[in-house]
Symmetry: C2
Subunit: 364 residues, 2 copies
């Protein structure tokens, strides 16, 4: 062989690429005859067979059994993806779905992510996921309190990140006055604005207790709630189109499917796996088969990309499906989507807000 161990001949590349694409399209092992006749490989089936045998030896292909054709190995998919210059033309319908995304009326991250997963799943026909970012990035920019009665009040927290809002209803074991709750909000704003979750420590808490001399007990109750809220504001993973998994024969094994759906419903495994990915990384990440850190997903592919808004990473979006995945389409969708979202902030909800009429019942 005149090539180094990492270098495939052009003909091998051509054949490997054709095999991957044929397998993505058909979902079945690909044979030499098919490649010659249908995939326009300009060699005889025998030549192709020889090449396939070598590609198998090199680890790019696998043979389910002797009399079947070949399917790409993980290495084969990896090679294909790495050399893929993805060129996928969105149909007008698909472009339209992306348009709709732009019409999200809300400027909250949650809404953007939710819409984005819906669109991603609908366009690609795979299961989509979105991830909101880790709590360490979260700080509360403003606290507001709402007095309900002497035992109940609400605390409204506005996160530094794109004005996400979280509220907590707090029920007290003792009575407080409306003024006290008002003062509480000042103490919180003075001491906990812009403070991240790790920075909340006992000294800050004691300082606040000393500032709220009339009722220091309030502080510990409130701080606990704020802590929880910051956690909830911080990270969240959501899935859309889980049912689409069922379309693919790869998941027709009920036992596997059950495990897969459990894993998705359970979420924690996937969160853990994804959390290891660099938040600041701009590239689209592709995990094929066992490259995935979740065991159950070891014959699935996860494609994943961070989303930025106003230059900051607000979360991520991903697609889960069989290794045999329409990579071009998925990559194009993910990229387009993340680009559109990055552009979103300039437009905001301005046009929507201008377009208000009084016929409110015309909604939904």
């Amino acid at each position: 062989m005149e090539f180094g161990k990492n270098e495939l001949s052009e003909r091998k590349k051509l054949i490997l690429k054709a095999i991957v694409e044929a397998h993505i399209k058909l979902g079945e092992p690909v044979g030499s005859k098919y490649l010659m006749q249908e995939a326009d490989i300009p060699y005889s089936s025998a030549t192709i067979r020889n090449e396939m045998a070598e590609l198998e030896e090199l680890g790019y292909l696998e043979q389910p059994h002797t009399s079947a054709g070949r399917i790409p190995s993980e290495l084969g998919y990896r090679f294909y993806v790495d050399t893929l210059v993805y060129q996928y033309d969105m149909s007008t319908k698909e472009a339209g779905e992306l348009e709709k995304l732009l019409s999200v009326k809300k400027n909250e991250i949650d809404k953007i992510l939710e819409k984005a997963t819906q669109v991603a799943s609908a366009i690609t026909n795979y299961t989509a996921l979105s991830l909101k970012h880790r709590p360490s990035a979260i700080t509360i920019r403003k606290y507001e309190t709402v007095y309900l009665d002497s035992f109940n009040f609400i605390i409204v927290m506005i996160a530094s990140l794109h004005d996400s809002v979280k509220t907590r209803n707090i029920k007290l074991p003792f009575a407080v006055s409306s003024e006290m709750i008002g003062k509480l909000s000042k103490v919180l704003n003075d001491n906990l604005s812009g403070v991240s979750i790790e920075q909340i420590n006992i000294s800050i808490i004691m300082k606040m207790e000393s500032e709220l001399t009339e009722c220091p007990e309030l502080i510990s109750i409130v701080v606990k709630n704020i802590y929880e809220a910051m956690n909830e504001l911080g990270s969240e993973i959501k899935f859309e189109g889980v049912n689409r998994l069922l379309q693919y024969p790869e998941y027709s094994d009920l036992d596997k499917l059950q495990k897969m759906i459990s894993t998705i419903e359970e979420k924690s495994d996937i969160i853990r796996a994804i959390s290891t990915i660099d938040q600041s990384d701009d590239d689209t990440k592709i995990f094929i088969g066992s490259e995935n850190m979740v065991k159950i997903m070891d014959d699935s592919t996860l494609i994943y990309k961070n989303l930025k808004l106003n230059g900051k990473t607000i979360g991520a979006i991903g697609i889960i499906g069989p290794c045999r995945m329409d990579y071009s389409k998925v990559l194009a969708t993910i990229d387009k989507l993340s680009y559109e979202i990055s552009q979103l902030s300039d437009i905001g909800q301005l046009p929507e807000a201008l377009d208000i009429d009084l016929k409110i019942d015309g909604e939904e």
Copy 2:
């Protein structure tokens, strides 16, 4: 036959009950021999066969094919459920899960419902659902505004029903002052407190516009957002444990399963069906097979019960599974759960709030 058409002999009842229970346990048609040997029916298989033939004639049993045993028909299940005095002893583990439910720290309906579905699904091992109530019942008891900058503010709405809170970030196409936003909150509280979604009409809107003379454009923008928020506050359906469906051979037909999961993900069909159920009804409702209003669920059973808190219906909880369902267990769980929730308000989060320490990092 010495009995009226609606009256089964005791022996028939015994046999029918044994058949239903055996089928629930095994998931397969039950034969006369099994009933005699394993289910302790004190008659010979021939006698049992005769009774089974009559029960089939009466419509309580069905025979998938000649040489199979019998399975209960919908009527059979209905009979079983109607005569069922459900006596199900919760194991300590299950009771423990219910205990945990009590430890929900929050007093918001959403949290209670979420936890309740989780517990219900875990204990029964079927898919659980919860429903939050229809928007017509929702009014906003208090409005609060939070000024962010001259183009952005947040509106916080506290619903009359158990202080659920909803916030909306509003981005304006024109600048406003902090004072203006403060005044807006007064106008909203004066005019829209305690007003239900149907009662918002043009005359109220115009009245508010006249009261906010400095900037009447604000009103229509805000009202639209309030309208949307009230809708979102109003009703919501959630599912838990969808993957549990896969355990049951009834759903091993992939096509059916796909439709079922789609229906669940899609939600709207189920909401529509459930919406027809009387909100004030205290009984546990059981829809067996074609009694269900959702086509795709016509060989599933839906068990459903309204949840009350402080005497008011706050939502409902349900279980979805195959007709062959462990009715005793499910009914006991649903009833216990709804009872526990109805007791919840007295306890509230008081003990939790009292039990606060400063070691915040011990969480999760």
